[in-house]
Symmetry: C2
Subunit: 434 residues, 2 copies
């Protein structure tokens, strides 16, 4: 595991769980910040957590996690679009059909992908052992795995540790559980928000892991969201799908999509709010709160991008359609040449121009502008003067940079979030299995 | 500029011009190998070359080249599909309309892209100064540039050096001209083939530069092909377009497409063969000879991929259609995670499986096989036994590796050629302009 390089003596990794946070709620109507902490942990009524070592990874690192609701929760999920789906993804998709879930068992160190029938048996065995020990139906337990692809899961080790996993359940142990799903992550990713809903207050807390194989549809490898809100199942699924579209589907680290990507939301209704439905006035605030949590987690994933030293927002404005804006943003955000230039702190906007031009969108090469933060480096498809280029050279030394691309073809706009491509990205990934 | 890393003490860069060559003509009906050399240079009847320093690059490196035919030649060209096209590309596309060309002037060190009207004037001035000094019509001179995007061309320096450039013309100076179009290339790329055509012999000699921004449509940044064959213009254009499809459009280094990609072919008819037309029996042999030259140049570009330590052929078999095969091959060949694993000599086939799964092709996750050279690492979507994985660990230490993917869905197949993603790729590109 490699730690992110630090530019200008200051880590960009300040948005870790429990640390102070500079990027706020971007004007959303939410009252919470990093969320209420109790005993150093995040508290969501009715949820308990556990994270232990089961010997899946080498050494004593935590690698087995449990997320548990004291009552069966309404559940929604979104899974990888990769045709090669890991066994736990296939198992969860079947178990999700009834839209109820009470526990999620997850391991790191092994993805249980490309493992055939044995993988399917192992995934079910992992969930069923948990259900049995908890005394709940097997269909209420979901399962997730992350790590190396193509190796059989050490299922006996895992099953033998389930009692201990359950024995450690605590409403204050979220940090243990999050730690147990980390792979190349260099910091845990947790975000909690709350808001009023009628005379009640609801909370949404999300955790995520992921630092590589990050590319829309989907982005993060694993993300579990827990809320005490009462909400109808179809409504929860729609809120999740809509939220994914503007959060995890807007980030990219390396253009690779994992076999295991999973986002699950459990809503246990302990807040006793009026049940949220698609037609109720509470739907929009709930969806916006969910977006707020997922956007922050998505940004944390990018900031923790393998070897990343810079967080880059690629904002495209003045496109004919949002689809056009996304194509252009994606082309720029996924360009290795653009990303290595950022790593080298070289304001080489010609590479951005080339990426815009190859996006497949019929842009006008004589009208587009490029800005690095507030500094125009390209106007009308041409470079600006040396004074402005000099300013851009300073901008690119920062840890957080916004690339704004103005196409002057319409009114549609979008943003994508990415990071630079560093020597450490190659190092991390050249020897991941070794 | 960085030199390629050398694995196992042996450079993969053995296919440089003038060096002995291990990869032959792959059974094509051609008699030539690296082509006949005269005085350490490649000789094509009626063509002359020059390469000098004009001070565009720093230092004394050659950066200005001239390719000249003693008689006006039939010309064909293929240009970048990038919407942001460099000025010389725009100029050439107009001048190519008549299908005749007698000289190509080309510079490295500056791409003359994103330079607006001034760029257009500079590109025309560069060509017209050459035409004037050669005493030929301006419309017979084409122009190419490669290097940094977005800086004005030092046109006065270039124009002032045109007489000297012409003064150095020689039929034995191809290596000077090739050197003058190199940027991050670590070796010159030249390939010559010849074959009988009736009672005559024709030659095709191609030169290329390019090591980054390599991605289909198009691949290389600049490629000039000279032949003494007599051939109709439409026929030459079709042969070129068909040849590009199976050569430069099958390679990728970093997924980026340049603003300057240009392939030009000049056929001056000095071989006095019966003029080749689309209906003549000589068309296929000519096209195949052209493919042979361009395929070798395309492979050289990949072998010289920025920071590359390994040459990788991704071969997809058993696809439903060639389009499907290409999607799968492209997904694997462009995966940063796959490419870094090769750099790390880690036979991490799970990443190949994930790239296959995210290609957009509806593959069957339970039937695909993956082989590294002859060693099956994945059969029916699952890993093979430890003995075979151990063999794969040895295969991946080699400099040239074929990844064969069998989809078992049909009979279509294709190959793409790529290289690994190394620490040096990042280094080369982080500080390209500095």
């Amino acid at each position: 595991m490699s730690h992110a390089l630090v530019a200008a003596g200051k880590s960009i990794k300040s948005v870790a769980a429990g640390k102070s946070e500079k990027e706020g709620n971007r004007g959303r109507k939410v009252s919470g910040g990093m969320g209420e902490k109790q005993g150093g942990n995040f508290f969501i009524p009715g949820f308990m957590f556990s994270g232990i070592s089961a010997g899946i990874k080498e050494g004593e690192e935590r690698d087995l996690a449990l997320f548990y609701s004291v009552t069966p929760a309404t559940a929604a999920g979104v899974f990888t679009t990769n045709r090669v789906k890991a066994a736990p993804v296939l198992v969860d998709r079947m178990r999700m059909r009834k839209g109820r879930c009470q526990a999620i068992i997850a391991n790191s160190g092994n993805a249980n992908a490309c493992t055939g029938e044995r993988g399917m048996r192992d995934a079910r065995a992992m969930a069923d052992a948990t259900a049995e020990a908890l005394g709940i139906p097997g269909e209420l337990v979901l399962v997730s795995s992350t790590g190396v692809i193509g190796k059989p899961l050490p299922i006996d080790k895992i099953v033998s540790r389930v009692p201990s996993l359950i024995g450690n359940l605590s409403s204050h142990a979220l940090s243990d559980a999050v730690e147990a799903i980390m792979t190349t992550d260099t910091f845990p990713k947790v975000k909690m928000e709350k808001c009023s809903m009628g005379d009640r207050e609801i909370r949404i807390c999300g955790v995520a892991k992921g630092a590589g194989m990050i590319m829309p549809r989907m982005a993060t490898m694993l993300c579990f969201v827990m809320t005490d809100a009462a909400i109808e199942r179809a409504c929860l699924q729609k809120a999740l799908s809509d939220a994914i579209e503007v959060t995890f589907n807007r980030i990219t680290v390396d253009g690779d999509t994992s076999t295991n990507d999973t986002v699950l939301v459990l809503a246990n209704g302990m807040a006793k709010n009026r049940v949220i439905s698609l037609n109720s006035a509470d739907y929009s605030p709930f969806r916006d709160l969910l977006i707020s949590v997922l956007l922050e987690l998505a940004k944390m994933v990018v900031k923790d991008g393998e070897g990343a030293t810079k967080f880059i927002e690629v904002r495209v404005e003045g496109a004919r359609s949002e689809a056009d804006a996304r194509k252009v943003a994606s082309s720029v955000a996924n360009s290795n040449l653009v990303k290595t230039a950022f790593f080298g702190e070289d304001a080489n906007w010609g590479r951005i121009a080339a990426a815009i031009g190859r996006s497949g969108v019929p842009i006008n090469p004589n009208t587009f502008d490029i800005l690095l933060n507030h500094v125009p480096v390209t106007v009308g498809g041409m470079g600006t003067n040396e004074a402005l280029q000099g300013e851009a050279d300073q901008v690119i030394k920062g840890n957080t940079i916004t690339v704004t691309i103005r196409l002057h073809q319409g009114n549609a706009h979008t943003s994508m979030y990415t990071c630079d491509l560093s020597i450490d990205y190659v190092k991390v990934n050249a020897h991941y299995r070794s």
